[in-house]
């Protein structure tokens, strides 16, 4: 199998072209041709399709895309190319599992198939921004206290001593190190110091920050997980490759990160499904992921819960879970914010789509498109874990019916979704306890979701 230095050499030697030519003369026309050749079609009536042959066909289309397009390196302006046999060999040799966590929290994050009744690896939490260390500690402690959680994402601090965090600056390094210390301390408070943190390093835009804050004295271990992001679509840069180089030398878990954009260069849902699947091949070959974190989003709406994105999630999740042994965390960006019923309708739709389509793992979805500062509470994670567990009792056909009912509840409001409340508005900052009003809303929506047939215990 190709190793990472082989990939780097190809980034130095592949065909040279401008990024614009890669986008418009290679990526877009090839993707369109492949969508046509393989007959990939969006089915708006069935956001959770149930056809295994179509899933396998989508995988073949993704292999063809990776073979014919490759991955563009922005720093060398060259295309990293792969032969079909190299791609299939990477798939064949992929271990299909990732070892994460320490001590009693250690576990093997493995694969699932569509309609699998095994509960997925439950990843809780959020990498969105917090304005206060105390709040961040409360949040992480609460996430860590969810007994079913297998791994966690931690928040990012927005400032240090009043200085706003700026990407690539010294204060980003201070914030990253401080964030990790808070994260570990909060997990100790929850009695689970070994729980793997798998969104490292959430404050770090720059590779230097990731590498600096990963020094073991700050509390991280190779059994945590670091995100190495692809650039949309099918691109990489030296910043990401530098992270991989460091992490591979350390033997740490790399999480290949991808966010295909429906409505961007991928075009509509059919093209986005092909690209979404191809990202898992890129994750194995280029970022060298031992797991993947992916969150397809809609260009216009910035969320993962429009009907066409749900179909994209389901279709590409099925293609990957049947054919690519890469443990993937599926993350949804939700339009509705905390303390809104819409959030929970959307979260349920996303979790039902992903879990029944064979998602090895799901992350409890991000409220308010992950851009509302302090816009998250532990309640979304608690109900998210329950919803994911319930979804594992269903098959794709049942999920499809439920998702259609959920879409009826929120689809028309996507464009003007309520951004909801902040943590401080829903929780007591000192005690870390939710308000009675928020508890009532969650109880009501839970009852409503159970009422439409989601098997919540």
């Amino acid at each position: 199998m190709l190793n990472f230095l082989d990939i780097f050499e190809r980034a130095l030697q592949g065909p040279i072209m401008t990024e614009q030519d890669f986008d418009m003369k290679v990526f877009v026309p090839t993707l369109r041709k492949i969508v046509k050749e393989y007959g990939i079609r969006y089915d708006k009536e069935n956001p959770v399709p149930s056809n295994d042959d179509q899933a396998d066909n989508l995988f073949e289309a993704a292999v063809a895309l990776m073979e014919q397009v490759g991955v563009y390196c922005q720093d060398t302006n060259r295309v990293i190319q792969f032969g079909r046999e190299e791609i299939l060999e990477a798939v064949k040799e992929a271990p299909g599992r990732c070892w994460a966590g320490e001590g009693k929290e250690s576990g093997v994050f493995g694969m699932r198939k569509p309609d699998d009744r095994k509960v997925p690896w439950l990843h809780v939490g959020s990498g969105i921004v917090s304005t206060a260390e105390e709040m961040m500690t409360n949040l992480i402690e609460a996430y860590g206290s969810i007994a079913e959680a297998d791994s966690i994402s931690i928040s990012a601090l927005d400032s240090v001593r009043g200085i706003p965090v700026m990407a690539g600056s010294p204060v980003e390094i201070y914030a990253a190190i401080r964030g990790i210390k808070i994260g570990r301390e909060a997990l100790r408070r929850a009695g689970r110091p070994g729980l793997p943190i798998m969104n490292l390093i959430s404050t770090a835009a720059a590779a230097v920050t990731t590498i600096a804050a990963s020094a073991p004295q700050f509390g991280l271990r190779p059994t945590d997980g670091w995100l190495v992001g692809a650039i949309s679509e099918l691109k990489i840069d030296f910043g990401a490759m530098n992270k991989t180089a460091y992490l591979l030398n350390w033997g740490a878990n790399v999480g290949a990160e991808s966010s295909p954009i429906l409505g961007g260069y991928c075009g509509g849902p059919a093209g986005t499904a092909v690209v979404s699947t191809a990202y898992f091949l890129m994750g194995l070959l280029v970022q060298r992921g031992s797991y993947q974190l992916t969150f397809p989003v809609h260009f216009r709406h910035g969320c993962s819960t429009t009907r066409d994105v749900l179909w994209t999630v389901s279709a590409s999740c099925q293609a990957a879970s049947r054919n690519i042994p890469m443990p993937v965390i599926w993350l949804g960006y939700i339009a509705g914010g905390p303390n809104t019923k819409m959030y929970f309708y959307e979260a349920a739709a996303h979790l039902l789509s992903a879990v029944t389509s064979g998602a090895p793992s799901v992350q409890t979805p991000h409220p308010a498109k992950a851009v509302k500062v302090d816009g998250i509470t532990p309640m979304e994670a608690k109900l998210g874990v329950e919803l994911a567990t319930a979804a594992s009792k269903l098959d794709r056909g049942q999920a499809n019916e439920l998702v259609l009912r959920l879409l009826e509840k929120y689809e028309s409001q996507i464009d003007a979704a309520p951004t909801g409340s902040t943590y401080q508005e829903c929780y007591d900052l000192a005690t870390g306890r939710p308000s009675q009003e928020y508890l009532r809303l969650c109880a009501e929506v839970r009852e409503e979701l159970a009422g439409i047939g989601i098997p919540l215990e």
Binding site: D23, M24, V28, R32, Q74, I128, V129, A156, D158, P164, V165, M166, A167, G168, S169, E172, T203, A205, A206, I231, S232, D237, G239, I261, L262, G263, G264, Y265, C266, G267, G268, F299, R300, G302, K369, V371, V373
Partner: protein, 218 residues
């Protein structure tokens, strides 16, 4: 082929993103003595407006928008020299310098806004991603920009939008440029907080805001 058909073909070329048809129709326009400005305004621009509306409503996606812009440019390569030879000018709404701020390598949203601005009648200077504050200001001066449009997709790069405005003030240049901001986590509240002149939630809105800021409404 009559004038109406040629103008329709120019519009169709933009709608279909067909560069060959755009060139062919532009040649036909000139050989049929059609005013090149009319070919742009009554042909190409009408097609671009259709694609822009489809993009805004979600019927068309980024590739269609960029291909339409490609067809527009292909026709302009033929029409522009004739427009200049006739000493005419396409009315430009102003010059917008657009770029993603320091530390941010996300380009797709910025590219869409640049394309929509370009096809809405603005001269657009796109300086790409990850631009240092002073570079943005120097480029804006060089381009004699009316508007500086700053894109940011990450909360940790949003402060760089504020920095551009602060440095413009420090350099006593704030009144020389209008500043617009945009990007996933950016909203009107942030634009107001940092003293930006405008914010666009979508590319089409950004073009409307730029038009309004420059007093070119309608």
């Amino acid at each position: 082929m009559d004038k109406t058909q040629i103008l329709e073909n120019l519009a169709h070329a933009a709608i279909e993103g067909d560069e060959d048809l755009a060139r062919e129709s532009a040649e036909q326009a000139l050989s049929n003595q059609i005013d090149p400005l009319e070919a742009v305004e009554q042909g190409l621009s009408k097609g671009m407006a259709v694609v822009g509306a489809r993009f805004e409503s979600g019927e068309a996606f980024l590739p269609e928008l960029l291909m339409a812009a490609g067809a527009f440019d292909a026709a302009m390569e033929i029409l522009q020299p004739e427009i200049e030879a006739q000493k005419k000018e396409i009315t430009k709404l102003g010059t917008v310098l657009i770029g993603t701020v320091k530390g941010d390598v996300h380009s797709i949203g910025k590219n869409v806004v640049a394309t929509v601005l370009g096809t809405s009648g603005f001269d657009v200077v796109d300086i790409g991603v990850d631009n240092a504050t002073l570079d943005i200001i120097q480029e804006a001066k060089k381009a004699k920009a009316d508007v500086i449009a700053l894109s940011s997709l990450m909360t940790t790069t949003m402060p760089a939008q504020r920095e551009v405005i602060e440095v413009l003030e420090e350099m006593s240049l704030r009144d020389k440029f209008l500043v617009m901001v945009g990007g996933g986590p950016v909203n009107q509240e942030w634009a107001d907080e940092i003293g930006a002149d405008g914010y666009g939630k979508s590319a089409v809105q950004a073009a409307e805001v730029a038009r309004r800021l420059l007093g070119r409404e309608g």
